[in-house]
């Protein structure tokens, strides 16, 4: 047990829900062993679902179809706007429709390996098993996937794999899958099985007798604070990439629901595992409010390169072939432009650090479609990527059919999240966490087209088959607004709002968020060091103090007040940022999206230390100024034995 300046170590945390024995039948056996709820009793049980993205929307719809009473909450004006809608490339499934040697086992293997051996085998195997059912379900809902002339579904390949298992709907797969889940949800709302609350934000978790029993929410139009009760609470509130301020997340994406649950005792696992996506549009100036992703699927046909010479300011077209460095194809001949995201991102950073980056500030590399257009014709390229090319042109003013795209890595996805067991239950009984908000399936790096798969597997198939085991012991004793725990939770929310409105300082909420983002990107981004992380923790603590004395939140609590909303989110991001740096500092190895400069091979590849760090790090909260406690979940690899990930 270690006790450092920044954290202390506590007892290990164990996943007690996963069966052992052959991995192929674990999920089957878990479903059989789980207690069931009689259909007549289900309508007496209420489940709160926070978030309406792929995980939350599909979970709310499915639980309602099963007969539970569901209360759904989202901060947007409609459940259809959750940020899953922006996912572009596709969704993986082990259908083996290409007859290219794919299988559930191979998808499982690729995902465990792609996660750099930091994910839980049982969960990943189940994810691969359920992947095939997701495609069937989506097709039944009318999701218009891309098809071939024979009328059957088309596939494409994606980074980190050598089979073609990605189903897609042009560059809008997330939109189409989310609309499928949204329509299923609206159907249940229309039938009276789901009570939908849009423009409502969860600000606190209500725990009574040790169980999650409800949430405190703010009506974002009127500012009214209410307490909502249920027999179980499901968080499907997404990831925390916006801790970096600039990310590919939607502006409203936040960690508040997860973080407030963490403050109430839910362990937060692997916060330092963040995914930096290699193909995003570079920043254009200080006004930048978000970054836009260009789907990774572009790497199927686009070739990544920079000039061989440093500070080469010629136009791309003027640089002859033999003066270009197609560095991914050179360094990783087996996978070429399709190496996993973490590797592609760091390679881009390396060539830019060498002074070979292109565009303003030298922070960009080319993604070139000239060869693909020559080989396939402009029409075929347009059919595959038309909307992405348009989006690029709209934002940058450049035409990618004529001149190569300029791309640079940006924060995209967070693998860490609230710790859950095999049943997707957190360390607080009755609090379940699904989708990007949990930590379970992607280890230290997520493969492309696996986020949609995980969100929908959790929401359609996993949670609805595990939450019953918990709900079978309900309905639980009635909770009222007068219960001491409820009064206290509500008071915490009201006090915080009052505090924000009373500081009346001289800095805007956004200015703090930007500053936090700079610190995180600089010291907890693509490359991390002990020195940098230690410095970052100091900077964040100073920022926290400044935030609580100098922030200016205009307006009142009892109205639509977008800066008040942001203030609460930024306060949580600041605390999370500190924990991310502590997690990154404690993990003295490189794995997946976490690259510690001190831990690399002689040729600059990530170096894991499985003996010392082959665990998930689950952190317990000890006050805004207290030291977090580390609980380790040892990971066992019975099937996919840890090896050095090589894509060469």
């Amino acid at each position: 047990m270690t006790n450092t300046d920044f954290w202390t170590e506590g007892e290990p945390v164990v996943d007690k829900a996963a069966p052992d024995g052959p991995i192929e039948t674990r999920w089957e056996r878990r479903k059989f062993a789980a207690k069931l709820v009689n259909p007549a009793n289900r309508r007496k049980l209420t489940v709160i679902v926070v978030g309406t993205g792929l995980a939350g929307g599909s979970a709310a719809a499915t639980l309602a179809e099963q007969g539970y009473h569901v209360k759904s909450y989202c901060y947007q004006d409609s459940p259809r706007r959750a940020h899953s809608i922006a996912a572009q490339g596709g969704i993986n499934a082990a259908k083996n429709y290409r007859n290219d040697g794919d299988s559930v086992y191979r998808l499982f293997y690729d995902t465990v390996k792609g996660g750099d051996f930091r994910a839980r085998e049982s969960n990943v195997y189940r994810l691969a098993q359920e992947s095939v059912n997701i495609i069937d379900q989506a097709v039944a809902q009318g999701v218009p996937f891309a098809r071939e002339y024979g009328g059957l579904l088309d596939n494409r390949s994606f980074g980190g794999t050598q089979v073609s298992r990605t189903f897609y709907a042009r560059g809008q797969t997330g939109q189409q899958l989310l609309l499928g889940a949204y329509q299923a949800l609206e159907r249940q709302i229309g039938l009276g099985n789901v009570e939908m609350n849009t423009r409502h934000e969860m600000l606190e978790l209500i725990i009574v007798d040790g169980k999650a029993r409800g949430i405190v929410v703010r009506d974002m139009i009127t500012g009214e604070i209410t307490t909502e009760f249920a027999d179980a609470v499901v968080l499907a509130s997404g990831g925390y990439g916006n801790v970096f301020f600039l990310s590919t997340n939607a502006k409203g994406c936040n960690v508040t629901a997860s973080w407030r649950a963490h403050r109430k005792g839910a362990l937060f696992a692997n916060p330092c595992y963040t995914q930096i996506h290699p193909t995003c549009i570079p920043e254009s100036g200080s006004h930048q409010s978000k970054l836009t992703l260009m789907s990774e699927s572009l790497r199927n046909d686009g070739r990544v390169w920079v000039p061989k010479a440093q500070k080469d300011t010629r136009k791309a077209a003027d640089i002859p072939e033999d003066e270009r460095d197609y560095y991914l194809e050179r360094i990783y001949p087996a996978f070429g432009n399709l190496v996993p995201r973490d590797i592609a991102s760091r390679a881009a950073k390396n060539v830019c650090d060498e002074g070979r980056g292109v565009g303003p500030g030298g922070l960009g590399v080319y993604l070139d479609f000239a060869d693909a257009i020559k080989r396939l014709g402009q029409k075929a390229v347009e059919a595959k990527y038309g909307n992405l090319f348009e989006m690029y042109q709209r934002i940058t003013g450049d035409d990618p059919y004529e001149t190569p795209m300029r791309i640079y890595p940006a924060v995209h996805y967070t693998m860490g999240g609230l710790w859950v067991d095999y049943d997707l239950q957190s360390t607080i009984p009755g609090l379940f966490v699904v989708g990007e908000a949990n930590f379970s399936d992607h280890g230290a790096n997520r493969l492309g087209a696996s986020a949609l798969m995980q969100g929908l597997a959790d929401g359609y198939f996993v949670l609805p088959n595990t939450i019953n085991n918990y709900l079978a012991s309900g309905p639980f004793p009635k909770v009222t607004a007068a219960s001491a725990e409820v009064v206290e939770a509500r008071r915490q929310v009201e006090d915080q709002i009052e505090k924000f409105l009373s500081i009346d300082g001289d800095r805007t909420v956004d200015s703090f968020h930007r500053e936090l983002g700079h610190i995180m990107w600089e010291y907890c981004g693509m490359e991390r060091t002990e020195e940098g992380l230690t410095k970052a923790i100091g900077l964040i603590r100073a920022l926290k103090e400044e935030f609580w004395t100098r922030v200016k939140v205009p307006g009142k609590g009892e109205e639509l007040n977008q800066n008040l909303e942001k203030a609460g989110r930024v306060a949580d991001f600041i605390e999370l940022g500190e924990l991310m740096c502590i997690d990154a500092l404690h993990r003295r190895e490189s794995c997946g999206g976490h690259f510690r400069a001190e831990s690399q091979t002689p040729d600059g590849e990530a170096l894991r230390h499985d003996d010392e760090f082959g665990y998930a790090a689950a952190w317990e909260y000890f006050g805004a100024d207290g030291k977090p406690t580390l609980h380790k979940e040892e990971l066992e690899f019975e099937y996919v034995h840890p090896s050095t990930r090589s894509y060469k």
């Binding site: 259809r80 495609i135 039944a140 009318g142 229309g190």
Partner: protein, 247 residues
């Protein structure tokens, strides 16, 4: 660039509302329209004024949240472009730009540029889905869909539900939105069993929600950021006539 914006300010549903002029200085032509409003809001906050409330989220043209009428046109001057994807390079130094909320009977103003579009959800609730509860699906390849139909269904399904069509329509009609969903689901074999009830129920819901009738003005498709064509309304009308004849 230095510009002036005249923005609709309305503190709440009961406020009458008015246009207020603001100077915005030193804006980069590479900034998006919403980033320009962000910059203005930072100035307003530090000056002790109430910042402008507006809906936005993904800022990449897909969530459908952003919704500004710019110089009288829903989503502004660029064809097939959401407000968040409109960049300042399309304006000139010294321009005076009017910014207003969607205006339609079915979309009441909540505050400033924020309107209530719940009525769209009510239309989907009434039948904009295929009833396929989780777990009931056959294998995805059980029913092939001709590529032509699948592609056309996809095109219709790209509607982002932003409501520009309603804002642009002199009648405040939601026909293009409804027609897009009718077309998407009606082109898929899975969508056939509920095809008749869907069109009848969705049209009823749009009337109930206070949307106006369609008189084929075509303003909707002009402003649609996803280019949903007017011909889909013809398809909806045809489906409706057939459904009514059968009922």
């Amino acid at each position: 660039m230095n510009i002036k914006v005249r923005v609709w300010r309305q503190s709440g549903p009961s406020d009458k509302g008015r246009m207020v002029t603001y100077d915005v200085k030193d804006i980069s032509p590479d900034a998006s329209f919403l980033e320009m409003i962000d910059v203005l809001n930072e100035t307003l906050i530090l000056g002790g004024d109430d910042p402008i409330a507006f809906d936005h989220d993904c800022r990449e043209g897909i969530c459908g949240a952003c919704s500004m009428v710019i110089n009288g046109v829903a989503h502004g001057p660029e064809k097939a472009t959401t407000t968040c994807q409109l960049h300042m390079r399309h304006f000139k130094d010294g321009d005076v730009i009017d910014v207003e909320p969607w205006r339609a009977a079915a979309f009441p103003v909540i505050k400033d540029l924020v309107v209530d579009r719940t009525a769209f959800d009510l239309i989907i609730q009434a039948g904009g889905y295929i009833s396929a509860s989780t777990g009931t699906a056959p294998d995805a390849h059980a029913a092939p869909v001709p590529k032509k139909d699948a592609d056309a269904a996809f095109e219709a399904a790209t509607c982002i539900g932003c409501g520009a069509c309603v804002a642009a329509c002199p009648n405040g009609s939601s026909m293009l939105f409804t027609a897009a969903k009718i077309t998407h689901l009606g082109l898929m074999p899975q969508g056939q069993p509920e095809r008749d009830s869907r069109v009848i129920d969705m049209l009823q819901a749009q009337d109930d929600a206070g949307f106006g009738g369609c008189t084929n003005m075509g303003e909707c498709t002009e402003v649609c950021p996803k280019g949903i064509p007017l011909s889909l309304i013809g398809r909806l009308n045809s489906d409706y006539r057939k459904a009514i004849a059968k009922s």
